[in-house]
Point group: C2
Chain length 148, copies 2
Amino acid sequence: MPSSADRAEELYEAINQLIRVHQFRDRDCICHHDVSVAQCYALETLVKRGPLRLQALAAEMYLDKSTTSRVVDSLLRKKYVLKVTDPSDQRAIQLSLTPAGEELYKTIRQDLVSEETSMIKDLPPEIVDGALTLIRQLTVTARARLGS
Amino acid sequence: MPSSADRAEELYEAINQLIRVHQFRDRDCICHHDVSVAQCYALETLVKRGPLRLQALAAEMYLDKSTTSRVVDSLLRKKYVLKVTDPSDQRAIQLSLTPAGEELYKTIRQDLVSEETSMIKDLPPEIVDGALTLIRQLTVTARARLGS
DNA sequence: TGATTATAGTTGCTACTGACAACATATCAG
DNA sequence: CTGATATGTTGTCAGTAGCAACTATAATCA
């Protein structure tokens, strides 16, 4: 029976590999379309959280507001997001997706999910369900540590 | 019972989250030391594969040779790697770690693994073993698709 | 051998990622 | 009204990453 230290070591390796492979695959997949990875992530966040202020978007993405501002800028130039000044606070802006932005994210998302689909098509459902549970558990645990 | 499409969707979400959280954590952890993430990845590859030519390192890391050349350059400046011209082929260079490079990677690695350790310390061993198996399976499957 | 071709690495260029600091503007507290 | 605070933007710097052009060396073939 492997020790706890061994398990940690192996888990590190396993997750490392998974992350690397997925990163490359996602980048390939996303960049076939009109946006970069960070830009796509911003689209995704706006799809999930709805219209947001820049600061809120930055917080959601764990990015600096300056970085976020520039990412949003590029999406603005490509007409995938809309900037509206908040009437109740002239400093703030509300960011929302244009129809084109929503459409684009939907397309990319389909591509990404279809990668997953073909990945699991030969795995038994119980296995996949197990993986799901565990991966979520790991994420929760890791996120808890991130805050500290 | 969820459909296969639902599972793919959920798996996409779950892996996405895990990757995001880990990415941030690793970056934090690595950048406390003297190197960036890519630089650390290069160190890791050299630790695992031993001395390599630049092209081989690039292939191992799935990076362009120009990108790899620059990453290596920065490690060279920091004295973590050594460049030796291959006597049998004046064009080629052998890259190897300096003692400082090995030491640095060992330290970073300990930090990274210890993150994993504290992450799994409250999870039952069977759960962790299960996650390990599944994550590896997913990596293998994803990697197979990467090649195509 | 000598000319052509192929390979190894480097460098120029472009674009994206991301943080920190300084800044302009707007809001709020006293 | 004035100082403090909050929102976004811009400047700057470093790192990531690929493509194309280049140098130098090696290999091939005529």
